[in-house]
């Protein structure tokens, strides 16, 4: 016990001796959280720039533009008179899409000759394009509906009859746990723990690797009374505490203060975070044990961590990946974090669903045992290159 306390005290001194430790954990997390929450504060992107190619120049085409501008999601930044001009704006990245109103649009509409409207979008910027497309589609369907309503009214139908004849089927969309289809809920609930995962791997590898690099590991081991387990646990504990405070703090921020949906329990989400933090720490110990040269382990940790965002499957789902890539997703704790988050926060599923992910976390936690001898040897003999 005395040795454990000595190692912890020694580590705390190191943590505060250089600004690097606090900077790369607390400051980086604070900056990331502030950045992403302020970036997506509106939930869905607003006022996406689009253009209208108006070949008609009538009162109805001007009303189209006016009504588009009255919506939240798009803004008509230019009304141009040729397709080439609008396409040029798209290629320059000034707009995400445009709409072409044909010549004689008003006249054809009035004489029931069904003028065709065209939408052009570029999925090179898929979020802007989807938003623009949805709004243009809604506008045209509204226009069709308004036209229909006008004709039926002239035929002497009442409003109730008109409503049902215009819309004989209604599709009611129920968006489970995220009725606003809000982007922060899709993205940040996994991006923020993902960034924490990167921080954990980098800082853990650094804190052990730096001892090997500067040849202070024999002294570290001595503080632990020569006991390897005490040396590792004592060194890790202050960080475990720090990461848990950061992780559970992010949980509280997202699920409590930002009101992200929680269909299950806060406890379930807290357990998921705790297991995730421990799994990431153990994985990082495994990395530095595998490659006891600081710079190699840091590179490995960095290259590995950056892949976790794509392979956790929260943006592009796992089911759409190639079979061997699907298998690869399992080697990232973030994947298991995301799956449990979906069960707990969005589905309110029973704990049974989360068990496989907890088993996976547990396997990550056993990884340090596989490199125990190698790391112990490196700490005593310092037999790995330092530069």
């Amino acid at each position: 016990m005395k040795e454990l306390r000595a190692v912890i005290v020694r580590e705390l001194k190191q943590m505060f001796a250089r600004p690097l430790y606090i900077f790369s954990s607390v400051v980086i997390m604070a900056v990331s959280v502030t950045f992403f929450l302020s970036l997506m504060k509106e939930g869905t992107p607003e006022k996406m720039p689009i253009a209208v190619v108006d070949h008609d120049h009538s009162s109805i085409s001007r009303r189209f533009v006016h009504e588009m501008n009255a919506t939240q999601s798009v803004e008509v930044v230019a009304v141009v008179s040729s397709y080439a001009e609008a396409r040029d704006m798209l290629q320059r990245g000034h707009i995400y899409g445009f709409m072409e109103l044909p010549e004689r649009f008003y006249a054809d509409l009035a004489s029931q000759r069904r003028p065709t409207v065209s939408f052009y979008i570029s999925h090179a910027y898929t979020v802007g394009a989807s938003t623009a497309y949805k709004q243009m589609l809604t506008m045209v369907n509204l226009a069709s509906g308004a036209f229909q309503r006008e004709i039926l009214r002239m035929k002497g139908m009442n409003e109730g009859q008109i409503m049902n004849i215009i819309q004989p089927i209604v599709l009611e969309g129920h968006f489970i746990a995220n009725p606003w289809s809000s982007y922060p809920i899709y993205l940040l609930s996994t991006i923020i723990p993902g960034i924490l995962g990167v921080v954990i791997v980098m800082l853990t590898v650094f804190s052990i690797g730096y001892e090997l690099k500067t040849s202070t590991s024999p002294q570290w081991l001595e503080t632990a009374g020569g006991n390897f387990a005490i040396a590792i646990i004592g060194k890790m504990l202050p960080y475990t505490l720090l990461f848990l405070v950061l992780g559970l703090g992010c949980n509280a921020l997202l699920f409590h203060f930002m009101h992200f949906p929680v269909m299950g329990s806060y406890w379930g989400l807290a357990n998921n975070m705790i297991a995730f933090v421990l799994a990431e720490q153990c994985l990082a110990v495994f990395f530095i044990g595998l490659l006891p040269t600081l710079r190699d382990a840091i590179s490995l940790g960095a290259l590995y961590s950056m892949l976790s965002f794509s392979l956790s499957g929260f943006t592009y789902p796992k089911m759409g990946m190639l079979p061997f890539v699907q298998a690869l997703t399992n080697i990232f704790p973030l994947r298991h974090y995301y799956v449990n988050y979906v069960y707990e926060a969005l589905m309110g599923a029973s704990f049974v669903q989360c068990i496989p992910q907890y088993v996976a976390y547990f396997i990550f936690m056993t990884l340090p045992f596989f490199i125990f001898k190698r790391l112990h040897g490196a700490m005593i003999n310092l037999n790995f290159p330092k530069k």
Partner: protein, 406 residues
């Protein structure tokens, strides 16, 4: 005149000296080889493998059909026929379907109530359908909801035509009423509207930018650890030599990364069928200011790196910020003003947008002039900061030594 010629000659000689030295440091360092070449060339392939399928198809869904009529079956047939979904379960009750959703075996549920056909057949009736969409990924929601919505609109037109014809209208008049303003949609440049077509071209620039950034940081940190005065050419006045050193080192990175960029930006898109309608020479011409801006940006930031590893330890986590601030995933038009101005200082922002415009949308260099001019400006700005910063760090180093010898 002779003095001037001499000045130029020693300048070139110094730059050559620094340039060759830096090239040797790159190829002799396994850590740098790993970042520049293995990651710089391997990541593009890896990301293409991850997003191999481009679009999400056959998302499993369940249906609860309490109506079991001709109409409900027609709806389900049409839905099943879309590429987006696959009806994996036909459930007897909503409870059963909800359980499947909670187990994530399906990502959408369509409920057809028992009065569906009756409402359709009644002259003024309105039939209701309920769709439950899994929101755990945006792409699930999009696949399930958009496809069901398309089928619904199609069915709606059918029913409306039936009703109008029953009112004694001919087909032509009925269609005029049903869809007074028909539309056609065109996906310009990215016909598949797929995920990898959108994300991976931007990632290619991101990979070049970030590997360069961390590699340069690592080289600077190593130089500091080995020899604090390595930054200066012996026998030269420092005021002159800072520019030569900055330029010489940058030239080494530039040569290496022109080769890597040519592979990543020209060959990879063709190999993996990413969009690539841009002119190859235009892409190479665009790469020049992008690389210079990225190199001098990295060299400036690397002045703060004390050890070989510290740059990576502290800044790897900011990669996500660099990516999101560039305006590809989250539209630039929705970026808060403060972040927008910050994004202007990062070469990746202009690099990603310019490359997407040229490569994916076939913009000419003239159309990408905003990005190109911005990159040249950044290259100049970051070159000055890198040189002045280097001079300053040498000056401070000398001051410290003076103090310690006193």
């Amino acid at each position: 005149m002779a003095r001037f010629t001499n000045y130029i000659l020693t300048g070139v000689d110094d730059i050559w000296h620094v340039f060759t030295q830096e090239l040797l440091r790159i190829v002799r360092d396994p850590g740098i080889i790993l970042i520049f070449f293995v990651a710089g060339l391997g990541y593009p392939i890896l990301y293409n493998l991850i997003y191999w399928n481009d679009t999400l198809t056959d998302v499993p869904v369940a249906v609860v059909d309490d109506d079991a009529s001709v109409y409900s079956r027609r709806f389900l047939h049409k839905w099943e026929a879309t590429p987006d979904v696959k009806i994996a379960y036909i459930c007897q009750s909503m409870q059963e379907a909800e359980l499947l959703m909670k187990q994530q075996k399906i990502h959408g549920i369509l409920y057809i109530p028992s009065d569906f056909s009756r409402q359709i057949e009644t002259a003024g009736g309105q039939a209701h359908l309920s769709l439950y969409a899994d929101m755990s990924s945006f792409l699930y929601m999009k696949a399930v909801y958009m496809s069901a919505n398309m089928v619904m609109i199609d069915e709606m037109h059918h029913i409306q035509i039936d009703r109008y014809e029953r009112l004694g209208m001919d087909d032509e008049t009925a269609w005029t009423l049903v869809q007074g303003v028909p539309y056609e949609e065109v996906n310009l440049f990215v016909p598949s509207a797929g995920y990898s077509s959108f994300l991976v071209p931007a990632m290619l620039i991101m990979i070049i930018h970030q590997t360069l950034f961390f590699g340069v940081g690592m080289l600077a940190g190593t130089a500091r650890e080995e020899n604090k005065t390595l930054f200066f050419i012996p026998g030269r006045k420092r005021r002159r030599s800072v520019f030569r050193i900055t330029f010489g080192r940058a030239l080494a990175y530039f040569i290496v990364y022109m080769a890597i960029s040519a592979i990543d930006l020209l060959i990879v898109p063709r190999l993996f069928h990413l969009p690539h309608v841009g002119n190859s020479w235009d892409i190479l011409a665009f790469t020049i200011p992008f690389l210079l801006a990225a190199i001098f940006f990295s060299m400036t930031i690397s002045l703060c790196v004390r050890n070989r590893e510290t740059g990576m330890v502290t800044l790897v986590a900011t990669t996500l910020i660099v990516f999101f601030i560039s305006g590809v995933s989250w539209p630039q038009a929705a970026l808060p003003t403060g972040w927008l101005y910050l994004s202007y200082l990062i070469p990746a922002t202009w690099g990603i947008n310019g490359f997407v415009h040229i490569n994916t949308m076939g913009a000419t260099l003239a159309q990408a002039s905003t990005e190109i001019n911005a990159l040249w400006t950044l290259a100049a700005l970051w070159f000055v900061t890198a040189s002045v910063g280097l001079w300053l760090s040498g000056y401070l180093h000398d001051k410290r030594q003076e103090l310690s010898t006193k």
